[in-house]
């Protein structure tokens, strides 16, 4: 009997320790944002070389695998030829990959040239370690002039903002994350609203009056309000409009103009 008592006491202590420790971390994090970011920087700095390595090889590995499985039936009778074809395919993939990277970079560079202010080109080296947050890690940090709350874009449009800048890496909160909000307006009607993430692939455009004429396919731009995103950057296009009979605002669904699942190079707009 006393043993059971000791056990349950120990259980209560263990659960209390876990709860208190986590709640203390959460409170510290919410109260003073910079004070507890040392963990992000330590973990980020340790893991970023590995993330860099893995993400650099990711595309060529997946392409090679696809080609390998494709060729396995065709070249059953000729192993040497298969190996040769594989080697050439792998080389070709690498070259195609390089060419694609060059194309993407030149697009970004053209965008950067047209951009009046300074910008930094960065590569996406990792994604959020959990399923829930929509965050990507880029390979540029404070050493490259990156700070928190800077806009991040691709040639296709807005993708998010920097929420943490480490020495060599930074975290970018994507516009589809539930905590993201971007002040926006319609390109044609100039009616404004707020683009909020829902933690899925699409966003919601809030606070657009029921009387506003909104159609599927209407482009939505950043309004410049809020001080993070410059005015006129494309955010996305309307995919669904729901007008409720009761209520002041429409329910508008928006698809981001950038493919947020296949981000590779991005542009961080410096102030």
């Amino acid at each position: 009997m006393p043993r059971t008592g000791n056990k349950s006491k120990r259980d209560i202590i263990l659960v209390s320790v876990i709860l208190l420790f986590s709640l203390a971390l959460m409170t510290l994090n919410v109260k003073q944002e910079k004070g507890v970011r040392f963990l992000d920087s330590i973990v980020g700095e340790i893991l970023s070389p590995f993330q860099n390595y893995f993400s650099q090889n990711l595309q060529s590995v997946s392409d090679s695998l696809n080609h390998y499985f494709f060729l396995i039936d065709v070249a059953r009778q000729n192993d040497e030829l298969q190996l040769e074809v594989q080697r050439l395919k792998s080389e070709k993939n690498q070259l195609i990959e390089r060419l694609a990277t060059q194309k993407r970079l030149s697009k970004l560079m053209t965008y950067e040239e047209n951009w009046e202010e300074k910008a930094v080109v960065a590569s996406v080296i990792g994604r959020d370690a959990t399923q829930w947050s929509k965050v990507v890690v880029i390979n540029k940090g404070m050493k490259n002039g990156i700070k928190e709350h800077l806009a991040v874009v691709t040639d296709a449009g807005v993708i998010g903002q920097v929420i943490y800048a480490g020495l060599h890496t930074s975290k970018v909160l994507l516009i589809v994350d539930g905590r993201s909000a971007v002040d926006a307006l319609f390109q044609d009607s100039r009616i404004s609203g707020v683009v909020v993430g829902m933690g899925e692939d699409e966003c919601r455009l809030k606070f657009v009056p029921n009387t506003a004429d909104v159609k599927v396919g209407d482009p939505v731009l950043s309004s410049g309000l809020g001080g993070i995103f410059p005015k006129g950057l494309i955010i996305g296009k309307v995919t669904q409009v729901l007008r409720k009979k009761q209520g002041l605002f429409q329910e508008i669904t928006l698809i981001p103009s950038s493919d947020l699942l296949r981000l590779e190079e991005v542009l961080v707009l410096l102030p």
Binding site: V43, L47, F54, G126, G178
Partner: protein, 172 residues
Amino acid sequence: MYYFSQALIAIFLFSAQTTWLKLFSFGGVTPDLILIWVVYCGVRCSRTGGIGAGIFLGLIQDGLSGGVLGMNTLSKGLSAYFFSKLKGKFYVEGVIPIGIFLILASVFDGLVFYFSMGTILKGEVASSFLYQLLPVYSIYNALLGPFLFLVLDKIYRWLELKTSNSYLGMTR
């Protein structure tokens, strides 16, 4: 040797989680390798070791995610605690028990996020989260879990063999 290999497993799993795993996303959902490892530690390690691993891995995951620090520490720490407690009461071998444990852990992990998002982060969560995203996430973890359990079992058994060999070598 033991801690070094643990660090290597951690680096591999965290790197895979943040890079490769997007290739296997299903409807935007990817499995959580860290959650599976935490449940593994809870079930296979000693009680204190399992809980310690849960808190430590949760803390690292917090550092690598854009959420609030402490969210994963809480969910992973408590998951490790519950499963280290449950392991003596249930038979945890084979695909089905492991799968059920992982479904429970995934649902708990998702609910911690859901309530943190509503209370601390004050963010938006899609209405489909509870009936679409969370079930897919849980099932995905449950399907991948037994395989990762098997791989981890093999690694730990190999490590045990290696460390016992080096121990024998030392005593000789």
